[in-house]
Every structure is written in structure tokens, then in C-alpha cells.
């Protein structure tokens, strides 16, 4: 019999984590009930960034919705642009030229790399390794340079639009991308050694926050979270959009379902994304980059949805049109929103420090959760 009897329970202590907390990744509020260091129960409170975005879409013409999607998942704005553009294209039956599709895929993958680099950095900070955060941001700046070269913005690009993309690749883009990737491959390995090879990092993440395969499916987890639990669910493979079916890439899947697995999935995805971008340069055909779109865009009445794989998971826009200028309803299926709903289950009985580790490994963006 252990000396520490759990029968003597102390009255719980309810702690607020957030809205202003160094590691809640935005303004998430966790109401954590503690017994000493052990979490009894946890209740996430969200909505601190709620701005009624879906309602605002209803008062705007289709193309004017795009700038707002930048600010949903602000770490991967282009993926959001792509998702809503696809929804609009499906509602209005618009075909996109091949070259535009390649450019879209390429940029989305580059944005995915930038987003995952933020994950590596913030996750390392959550675990306590501040330096990796700065290394990751140093690398991310280079990715942002590339994206800025293409789109003219650092964070909110507002660039992919229904019918294609507005501008072709700039001069010397390929060379710049290649040189940055060369470096990124080296620094990624360095960062990886700093964390993955680190014993402290391993004991902090291995076997922590385990999501079983069934659990992940039942709760609707997507993206790196479900792939970390051993389910090869990647929209790019199971329902390919744009030109993903023509590209050769792997979907990294890890079976452990713990924080480490989710972290490794993302590291591996960076490598795969680089592979995709390099292929895009090789395969890209010449041609148009934008379909001719009517000045006043009125899609036929109907419903459509898009499914895309954003860095966080399955990002899908659902759109209802009644034939007028504005959509009747735009709904965003935000992966982070679904992942956060798993938290109360995941956090039962863990230590306080693990709360942060688990929350960080889900890589939620609150702008997307609250909409």
C-alpha cells in the first residue's frame, strides 16, 4: 500500500489560466481545478475573440469575405484564403487554371511550414526551452520573406481568390526558395536535435496527453492530432483538392498519440511540405493564372463546402447561396475549435505542467476557435 493515501482529499483550488497567460496561445481561459499539483477537472472558456465573423460574411459580397479569412487562423492565412476560395468556386462552378492551382498549393505549403515553425517555437517555450522559440522564429522570418516576395504582406496576405491567384511568380523566386530551403533543412535538423534528442523534452512529452485512435475519431480530431494517434486522415490524400493528386508526398503518421507524436508529425510535415514545393516548381505548367470572373459575381442558389488540410487540421468552409450578391450563410469548420473541445477529457488527472504541454501540442489558434 502506498504511503500517500488519496483518501485524504484536500478541498480543490480553482485556478484561472488565461485569458492573459503566457502559454495559453491567445486568449483561452482554462478553469482548472487542482488538488495540489494534480488537475481534477478543467473547463475551457472560449469566445474572448468572438467577433461574429460568420455573420459579417452575410453582409458582404463573396470576394470581399476573403480579407477576413486571413484573420481566422492568422498563422496560416493562405490556407484559409484557399479554403474559402474553393467554397466560392464550388458554389459558382468556377474552374481554376492549372498554373494557378500549382501556385496555390506551393504557397499553402510554404505557409504550412511557417505555421509549423511557430508551433515548434511556442511548444518549446511551453516546455521551457526559450531558445528554440527564437531559433524557430529566425527561420520563420525567412519563410515570411518568401511569402512577402510573392504576396507583398507578412502575415495577412489576402492573396488567393476565387478563380485563381492575382499575380504570377516574381523574378528569382525559385532561386530564393531553394536557398532558403537549403538553410531550413539544416536549421530544422539543429532544432530537432535540440528538442527531439533532448531527454528532458522526451520525458515531458512521451506518454503525456495520450489520445487513442478511437478517442480521436469520436471527438472529430483532424490534422496532426489525429495523425499523431495513428489515423492516416489527411484531406490532401483522401479527398485531393487542387493538384495534390499529382504530387508525390507522404503523410506522416505516428501511433503513440502522445504529445511527442504530434510534435514529430509536424516536424515531418515540414519536410514533406518542402518536398511538395520543390515538386511544384518542377511540374508547374505555363499558362493563365486567373479565370475570367464576372465583375458582379452572383453564384446560383445552392450549398457547397470545401475541405482543405490546413496546418491545424481539416479546415472547411460551408457556404449557402440564394443567388444574390451576398452569401446567406458561411460556416467555418475550424479544426482548433474541435481540438479544444477534447481538452476536458485530456486533462483529467494530469499535472499542472502537463496542462501546458498538452494544450501546446494541440496547436490551437484562438482566432480560429472564436471566429
Amino acid at each position: 500500500m502506498p504511503l500517500t493515501s488519496t483518501e485524504i482529499s484536500s478541498p480543490g483550488m480553482t485556478i484561472n489560466m488565461g485569458p492573459q497567460h503566457p502559454s495559453t496561445h491567445g486568449v483561452l481561459r482554462l478553469l482548472v481545478e487542482l488538488d495540489g499539483e494534480v488537475v481534477h477537472s478543467c473547463r475551457p472558456v472560449i469566445g474572448y475573440l468572438h467577433r461574429g465573423l460568420e455573420k459579417m460574411f452575410e453582409a458582404r459580397p463573396y470576394r470581399q469575405c476573403i480579407p477576413f479569412t486571413d484573420r481566422l487562423d492568422y498563422l496560416a492565412a493562405l490556407n484559409n484564403n484557399l479554403a474559402i476560395s474553393q467554397a466560392v468556386e464550388r458554389v459558382g462552378n468556377i474552374a481554376v487554371p492549372d498554373r494557378a492551382q500549382y501556385i496555390r498549393v506551393m504557397l499553402c505549403e510554404m505557409n504550412r511550414i511557417a505555421s509549423h515553425l511557430v508551433f515548434i517555437g511556442t511548444y518549446a517555450t511551453d516546455i521551457g526551452a526559450t531558445t528554440v522559440f527564437l531559433y524557430a522564429f529566425r527561420d520563420r522570418e525567412k519563410m515570411l520573406d518568401l511569402l512577402e516576395m510573392m504576396t507583398g504582406a507578412r502575415l495577412t496576405y489576402n492573396w488567393i481568390r476565387p478563380g485563381g491567384v492575382p499575380t504570377d511568380l516574381p523574378e528569382g523566386f525559385e532561386k530564393a526558395v531553394r536557398s532558403v530551403f537549403e538553410e531550413l533543412k539544416v536549421t530544422l535538423d539543429e532544432n530537432n536535435r535540440l528538442l527531439t534528442g533532448n531527454r528532458i523534452f522526451r520525458v515531458r512529452t512521451e506518454g503525456i496527453g495520450v489520445i487513442s485512435k478511437e478517442h480521436a475519431i469520436a471527438w472529430g480530431a483532424t490534422g496532426p492530432v489525429i495523425r499523431g494517434s495513428g489515423v492516416p486522415y489527411d484531406i490532401r490524400k483522401i479527398a485531393p483538392y487542387e493538384v495534390y493528386d499529382r504530387l508525390d508526398f507522404d503523410v506522416p503518421v505516428f501511433d503513440q498519440g502522445d504529445c511527442m507524436a504530434r510534435y514529430l508529425v509536424r516536424i515531418e510535415e515540414i519536410r514533406q511540405s518542402m518536398r511538395i514545393v520543390e515538386q511544384c516548381f518542377k511540374d508547374m505548367p505555363e499558362g493563365e493564372i486567373m479565370t475570367k470572373m464576372p465583375k458582379i459575381f452572383r453564384p446560383p442558389a445552392g450549398q457547397a463546402y470545401s475541405r482543405t488540410e490546413s496546418p491545424r487540421g481539416e479546415l472547411s468552409f460551408f457556404m449557402v447561396s440564394d443567388g444574390s450578391l451576398n452569401p446567406v450563410r458561411v460556416h467555418v469548420r475550424a479544426p482548433s475549435f474541435i481540438h479544444l473541445s477534447m481538452l476536458p477529457d485530456l486533462l483529467k488527472g494530469v499535472k499542472v505542467a502537463d496542462v501546458i504541454a498538452i494544450l501546446g501540442s494541440l496547436d490551437t489558434v484562438l482566432g480560429e476557435v472564436d471566429r
Partner: protein, 117 residues
């Protein structure tokens, strides 16, 4: 008594250093209290309940273990000064003493007193 003079002096000066600094700061620093400022900080929201409540027993067990081992160390310090007089005999005795403690540690380990859970 003479040997305690530096000790007393250091304590007094250390105390005075902090005290005088805080006192001087008191005259120059602004002060604009308001009810929100006086309240306990807990990430923005109003704190739920009080922070002073009973604590988990794990901390207590570690404190107990600490006391045992620190007393051991306190015994060993005079021993370390004097063991050369008695030679190997003293060392063996000390090792037995430490081993006894080690057995205690193993006992606590086996009874899962060292687990935080």
C-alpha cells in the same frame, strides 16, 4: 562572543540595505491605489475562492524525508572532523550508518512515498 561580531554586523547591514532602499523608494515612488489593483492577480478574471487552503500531503512527506537526511548530514559534519583519530573503524561505522539511511530510503521508495501521485 567575538566571533559573532561579523555575523551580527552582516545581518544588520543586510537588513538595513533592504530597509533603507525600500524606505527611500517610498518617498519617490508614485502611489495610486485602486480597488482593481489591490485585488489578487489571476490572469484578468476575478479570482475564484481563496488561495489559502489545505495542501496535498506529498509536500509533507518530502519535508519529513528531508529532516531525516539533514539530521544525518548534521551528524556527519562533526564526524568528518574527527574520524581520522579512529581510523577504519570509524569509517565502517559511518558506512553502516549511511546504509541504514539508505535502507530507509529504499523503504520509502518501495512504499511509493517518492511518487508525486
Amino acid at each position: 562572543m567575538q566571533s559573532y561580531v561579523p555575523f551580527v554586523m552582516f545581518t544588520a547591514i543586510g537588513f538595513a540595505f533592504i530597509f533603507v532602499t525600500l524606505l527611500m523608494a517610498r518617498f519617490v515612488r508614485p502611489s495610486a491605489p485602486n480597488p482593481n489593483k489591490q485585488e489578487t492577480y489571476e490572469c484578468g478574471p476575478v479570482p475564484v475562492g481563496d488561495a489559502w487552503n489545505q495542501f496535498n500531503i506529498h509536500y509533507y512527506l518530502f519535508a519529513l524525508l528531508f529532516v531525516v537526511f539533514d539530521v544525518e548530514a548534521a551528524f556527519l559534519y562533526p564526524w568528518a572532523m574527527a574520524f581520522r583519530m579512529f581510523g577504519l573503524y570509524a569509517v565502517v561505522e559511518m558506512i553502516i550508518f549511511v546504509a541504514l539511511l539508505g535502507v530507509g530510503l529504499v523503504y520509502a521508495w518501495r512504499r511509493e512515498a517518492l511518487e508525486w501521485e
